[in-house]
């Protein structure tokens, strides 16, 4: 995973709550077996509408998505994160993220930064009044800067550390392989295994 320390890019105000992962990427794109190449899939239904924010310059070149509360609800599809990244987004700001989406973002180096809704509203206004305004998201100081607005954001320390260091989760866990082996030895015999298969 690439390290994330700070990012500055054009902010995109998405004034909508409950942006579910079916909107971020519809199921039809989930037939692919690759991990990349999903830029065309991002918000594909909404992008058919010429008035949609990503169809307007300079927002189409945006890399900081500023969304309403409950972003990333619904399906666990990590494709939603891949699509946001493939389009060019480096970070999403919202006052509340769905748990699974937030987890997926952390694994893929997309920063999900949680701000107070009041600060989101201020940033929306700034970005709408001055389209093309750049937003700086600084993971070191956990701060968002947009015009004159300086707002703190929340992220759990563990995810922050992994993003700052660009660490691979599986590699970290495998450092504790002895603990896993020790745990496995203590599991009760009545717990099921899938193999050998027993059928009805």
């Amino acid at each position: 995973m690439e390290k994330f320390t700070t990012h500055t890019g054009i902010g995109v105000p998405l004034r909508q709550s409950n942006v579910d992962t079916d909107q971020i990427i519809p199921a039809v794109y989930l037939k692919r077996i690759t991990r990349t190449g999903f830029e065309d899939a991002l918000f594909s239904a909404w992008r058919k509408d010429p008035a949609f924010i990503l169809n307007q310059a300079p927002f189409n070149a945006g890399s900081v998505l500023v969304a309403g509360p409950d972003f990333g609800t619904g399906s666990s599809r990590e494709h939603a994160v891949w699509a946001l990244k493939d389009y060019g987004f480096k970070t999403v700001l919202s006052s509340r993220f769905a748990d699974i989406f937030r987890g997926n973002s952390g694994k893929q180096g997309l920063l999900a930064a949680e701000l107070a809704q009041d600060d989101i509203e201020l940033i929306w206004k700034e970005l709408e009044n001055a389209p093309g305004t750049e937003v700086t998201v600084d993971l070191v100081s956990k701060t968002v800067i947009c015009g004159n607005i300086v707002a703190p954001f929340e992220i759990d320390d563990y995810t922050r550390w992994r993003l700052l260091e660009g660490l691979d989760d599986i590699g970290l866990t495998l450092q504790h392989e002895e603990d896993i082996t020790a745990y496995e030895a203590t599991r009760p015999a009545f717990k099921p295994t899938t193999l050998p298969a027993r059928l009805s």
């Binding site: 004034r15 909508q16 709550s17 409950n18 579910d20 079916d22 909107q23 519809p26 199921a27 039809v28 989930l30 037939k31 692919r32 077996i33 690759t34 991990r35 239904a45 309403g68 409950d70 609800t73 619904g74 399906s75 666990s76 599809r77 990590e78 494709h79 994160v81 509340r96 993220f97 769905a98 748990d99 699974i100 987890g103 997926n104 694994k107 759990d156 320390d157 563990y158 599986i170 866990t173 495998l174 504790h176 392989e177 603990d179 896993i180 745990y183 496995e184 599991r187 009760p188 015999a189 009545f190 717990k191 099921p192 295994t193 899938t194 193999l195 298969a197 027993r198 059928l199 009805s200």
Partner: protein
């Protein structure tokens, strides 16, 4: 220290305690007892293992099936859509390469992953269960800590049989009272989601409690736990009891002999201690609950079926108001319209929420001896090949076919519209599934979430209806009250 059920299950799976406390706490590393795999969220994870030269650590705790992207017609023929066929073939290749047990299309144990696990007896109380699918919360009905994960986590579980998880908060959902006839588990969970909102459970594990929950069958409890994610909660569970044990006993992978006794002794400890505290408590009255239905484009936008479409002005919060306006426009509905005046085009009976035997029986009991509205298309998609076989043994397929419904093969089908089972633009559907998002069941499609008995009544009347709206059928069986 007194603990909740979820905390007990969590603590029993800690491989390595995270360092630090409070805001600085590192996540605990938890052991995963069962990993369910399907074709859509696994190919990139298998590929990750291959690229890193890693093994799949515990094939004997892993099981795969094909469900999301499979056809429900002509399953003996090659899949017509090439991309879909490639995805299915990729799962087959991966399972062969990594030694994973797979139930393929055509196999008697194939079906929706959350129907298959419990049916085989692989889902048991006190386990940790994960799957690259958000409706993994279904398995919480057994008192298991079960949650959906993304593909990176799928790869992590494949490589390590563990997950690093942040601690959660606990929420009690107390449902007291007795459900009235025609009111079901689906109505309970839709009412809960409307009450706490799609983000209300975010960061929590829900525990469903109270006399109304205790009175429910296992399949009904699965319906409730299934939709925990629609309230934002990654997991939701019910303490195991005699109902759970009766359901488990004799299933292929249930413990046998002395193992059964040892298991029950342990399972009996899996309940929230009397003096344990929840971070939040929510109460719902089962006595007054009515059939519930959604009007909008997220599962929290629901009302009683006897109510009317709300107005955006009813919502104080600006975001909720804007969301309601947008939803009404997408759904083609005017505020103030009685829900029961809404005419639908399609009825979908299926999905991991409501596609088990009891769901099919409850719907069949309503339609038996009655006529389908001629303008309605009805799809019945059993949750698994095994459910389909059992239903056919009871003659339910004949009831549905005589009624004019389509009797399909098992899979996720129109719940997510990945296979050819989709709504057309503007088509309106009463669906027993779990998500009414824009375009979820097909581009431009409009979804109302309902229970199986409301789905059945709607197929008869053509408008959203409850079983109590129907004229008595000549020889109809009494409406079941506790099923589904």
């Amino acid at each position: 220290m007194a603990k909740t059920l979820a905390e007990k299950v969590w603590d029993a799976h800690v491989v390595r305690k995270g360092d630090g406390e409070g805001a600085n706490a590192q996540p605990d590393l938890l052991f995963i007892d069962l990993h369910l795999v399907h074709e859509v969220t696994s190919p990139q994870a298998f590929e990750g293992l291959r690229l890193a030269g890693r093994k799949l650590r515990r094939p004997d705790l892993t099981i795969a099936t094909e469900d999301h992207n499979t056809p429900t017609l002509d399953i003996d023929k090659p899949i017509a859509d090439l991309t879909s066929r490639t995805q299915i073939q990729t799962l087959r290749n991966n399972c062969a390469e990594f030694g994973v047990r797979l139930h393929s299309l055509g196999d008697a144990e194939q079906g929706i992953v959350h129907v298959v696990g419990p049916q085989l007896g692989l889902t048991q109380p006190g386990m940790t269960v994960v799957c690259g699918d958000s409706h993994t919360s279904t398995h919480g009905a057994f008192g298991a800590l079960a949650m959906g994960i993304g593909t990176s986590e799928v790869e992590h579980v494949m490589a390590t049989q563990t997950l690093s998880l942040k601690p959660f908060k606990t929420m009690a959902i107390n449902v007291e009272g007795t459900l009235r006839p025609g009111v079901t588990a689906k109505d309970i969970i839709l009412a809960v989601i409307a009450k706490i909102g799609t983000g209300g459970g975010q960061g929590y594990v829900l525990e469903y409690r109270g006399s109304a929950i205790r009175a429910l069958s296992m399949e009904a409890r699965m319906t409730i736990c299934n939709m925990s994610i629609e309230a934002g909660a990654r997991a939701g569970l019910v303490a195991p009891d005699q109902t759970t044990y009766d359901y488990m006993f004799g299933r292929p992978h249930a413990p046998q002999g002395a193992d059964w006794d040892a298991a029950v002794e342990y399972w009996d400890t899996l309940r929230t201690d009397d003096d344990a505290t929840f971070d939040v408590k929510v109460d719902l009255d089962a006595d007054t609950l009515e059939p519930f239905v959604t009007w909008g484009t997220n599962p929290g936008q629901g009302v009683s079926l006897s109510a009317s479409v709300p107005s955006p002005e009813d919502f104080g919060d600006e975001n909720a108001k804007a969301a309601a306006e947008r939803a009404l426009q997408y759904m083609g509905l005017a505020a103030g319209t009685p829900m029961k005046d809404i005419r639908v085009d399609t009825v979908f009976l299926g999905s991991c929420t409501n596609s088990r035997m009891e769901d099919l029986r409850a719907a069949a009991d309503i339609i038996r001896g009655r006529q389908k509205d001629p303008n309605i298309r009805m799809l019945v998609v059993p949750g698994s090949a095994r459910v389909r076989l059992e239903a056919e043994a009871e003659g339910l397929d004949k009831v549905f076919k005589d009624f004019g419904a389509e009797w399909r093969f098992a899979g996720c089908s129109m719940c997510l519209g990945m296979n050819p089972d989709q709504l057309e633009v503007g088509e309106r559907c009463a669906s027993t599934s779990n998500r009414n998002f824009e375009g979820r069941q097909g581009k431009g499609g409009r979804t109302h979430l309902v229970s199986p008995v409301v789905a059945a009544a709607t197929a008869i009347r053509g408008t959203l209806s409850s079983p109590s709206d129907l004229d008595p059928a000549p020889e109809s069986a009494a409406i079941r009250t506790s099923a589904a």
